[in-house]
């Protein structure tokens, strides 16, 4: 039986692996070791998610704590993919640091939860809907961090930011549409503008604006980078902000945590 008490047993070695990979890539040494170490960390962390899945008898996707688990997993994964494609030496350190923040939140403020998934969530759509969204969050999160880096350090990372945003937007779109198809099946309407859906639409529009801005005004780099930050704030609102938003209280079908 796997539970949150054992989390640190997996999280700690995973973070150590990712940190080793980050430091090696930062020094530009031992390419093979970088990959080995980063993938090792992913395997360890992935194993914990898999064991949780088995012991909970449902995908661990229902509470904020559980979704943070996926976020901590996908961030280093996106970091590694970005690294293998664009060779930014610091990206692994970045994604590791952010992932560690989420791991620490889970370690020190675990949200313990009941075992049963509520009936509305017992659907084959549930896992793809949330996993796709978590991947999109991780990708766009990486794009936002790179935007901040470029704003501060003036290193040109636009190609990677654009690429990650495109990947992120495509996953946001798929997650949103899976949600619509699922809602149609479960409640008879594909879109009911509940607060989570409204913020998902706003976030989606914001990333669309970024994409169109980059195409229409490729020279306007600084506004685009600042816009990335706004997009990400919108995304945070959609992800967990609405739980604290007075206007959304009691009005959303998406507050399960």
């Amino acid at each position: 039986m796997e539970n949150w008490n054992d989390f640190w047993l997996f999280a700690l070695p995973a973070v150590v692996c990712w940190t080793v990979a980050s430091l090696l890539s930062l020094r530009g040494k031992g390419q093979k070791l970088v990959y080995l170490s980063a993938i090792g960390g992913l395997l360890i962390f992935g194993a914990y998610i898999a064991l949780m899945w088995i012991s909970l008898e449902r995908p661990p996707l229902r509470t904020m704590g559980e979704t943070r688990l996926w976020y901590s997993f996908f961030l280093p994964l996106v970091g590694l993919v970005t690294y293998s494609r664009w060779r930014y030496r610091w990206i692994l350190l970045f994604s590791t640091m952010l992932s560690t923040v989420f791991i620490c939140v889970n370690l020190f403020k675990p949200e313990i939860h009941s075992k049963m998934l509520m009936p509305a969530l017992q659907s084959p759509w549930f896992a793809p809907h949330v996993i796709v969204y978590m991947f999109a969050y991780a990708t766009t999160g990486a794009a936002m961090l790179m935007s901040l880096w470029q704003l501060i350090r003036r290193q040109n990372l636009l190609d990677a930011i654009d690429g990650l945003t495109r990947v992120g937007l495509s996953f946001l779109t798929v997650g949103m549409l899976f949600g619509a198809l699922w809602a149609k099946e479960a409640w008879g309407t594909y879109w009911s503008w509940d607060p989570k859906e409204t913020w998902a639409a706003a976030t989606w529009l914001c990333y669309l604006i970024y994409l169109h801005l980059r195409i229409g005004r490729p020279a306007a780099v600084r506004p685009a980078l600042l816009w990335q930050v706004i997009c990400f704030l919108c995304l945070q609102m959609c992800w967990w902000g609405i739980n604290y938003l007075p206007a959304a209280q009691g009005a959303s079908a998406h507050t399960y945590s």
Binding site: L181, W199, C206, L208, H212, I215, I242
Partner: protein
């Protein structure tokens, strides 16, 4: 882009005026055939504007990002506004004088989204009239959202969700809507038997469904296994809970959403479009930039 911003401000202003004069948008009036006419008018005006684009600068401009980006920003702002205000349930009157608590019926919101969709329609026309394989991802995304959003919005008024209560051994063709109004349907249901399988707590109805055109269907209905008859979907919904397993009454939900196939078409186009976006995420940028800068340059030449 400034012009685009002014247009959006103008639309928002005009919307406010309409809101004050005419009150919130009455979506109920959109029921067939009104929504069909509105759709025809929308499509015809998009085609007409596209055909007149060489003479009218505005129409040419509508298919550019200079018009599109401000429209996207305006719609995003309205959506955020909706996100931070408490909304009344659909069909209710707003709880403050401006109308933003019933955002979906708020004229500025509606007009800005209509404007955005008009622009999307225009830009689709420019690609549709120059068919090429490289336009496919673009059209999947843009035409997809156009179809899904326009048909979803216009079709909403045609969606019917009724509840029908049938006693064992009888045939029923009347149902009630959400406001408890009785409706006569072109579909009738005869309930032969209703029973509850105690072990898995499943309840089933043995029924025969008749339609006005003489179609007869015998089937067993249960939760998550609806029956589709002549545009209606019949769901097992409930039973007389006071009698439990002894209930001789079965309650069905009948849903009709004639625009749904179009909305699904749009949704699946968008899904395919998202797949294209993902696959091309690394290579698309420069090509897209070239493609998009060309028409605007040509436009400048024409307008000179």
């Amino acid at each position: 882009m400034t012009v685009g911003g002014y247009v959006c401000c103008g639309l928002a202003g005009a919307g406010m005026l309409l809101q004050v004069v005419a009150g919130p948008v009455r979506w109920g009036m959109m029921a067939w055939p009104v929504n069909g006419i509105v759709l025809a008018v929308l499509l015809l005006s998009v085609v007409a504007m596209h055909l007149c684009r060489s003479r009218v600068r505005l129409f040419r401009w509508m298919a550019t990002l200079q018009a599109g980006i401000p429209a996207l920003v305006a719609c995003a702002m309205m959506t955020v506004l909706m996100g931070v205000t408490r909304q009344v349930p659909s069909g209710h009157v707003p709880m403050e004088p401006i109308g933003i608590t019933a955002m979906l019926s708020f004229w500025p919101f509606v007009l800005l989204y209509v404007w955005l969709m008009a622009l999307v329609g225009m830009v689709c026309m420019t690609r549709l009239t120059r068919p090429a394989w490289r336009n496919v991802p673009f059209l999947l995304n843009h035409l997809g959202i156009f179809i899904a959003l326009v048909c979803g919005t216009l079709g909403n008024a045609d969606m019917q969700r009724l509840h029908m209560m049938v006693r064992e051994g009888t045939t029923e063709w009347r149902a009630v809507d959400e406001l408890h109004r009785v409706k006569e349907l072109p579909v009738a249901i005869e309930l032969h038997d209703f029973f509850i399988e105690e072990a898995p707590l499943r309840y089933l109805s043995d029924v025969t469904v008749y339609t006005k055109k003489g179609l007869v269907l015998r089937d067993t209905l249960r939760v998550n296994k609806p029956l589709a008859v002549r545009g209606w979907k019949i769901y097992q919904y409930g039973y007389d809970e006071s009698k439990g397993a002894e209930s001789d009454i079965s309650i069905f939900e009948l849903v009709r959403d004639p625009w749904l196939p179009f909305v699904y078409l749009g949704i699946f186009m968008m899904l395919a479009g998202a797949g294209c976006l993902f696959l091309q995420s690394g290579t698309l940028r420069k090509k897209e930039q070239r493609q998009n800068e060309m028409p605007s340059e040509r436009n400048v030449e024409i307008s000179k």
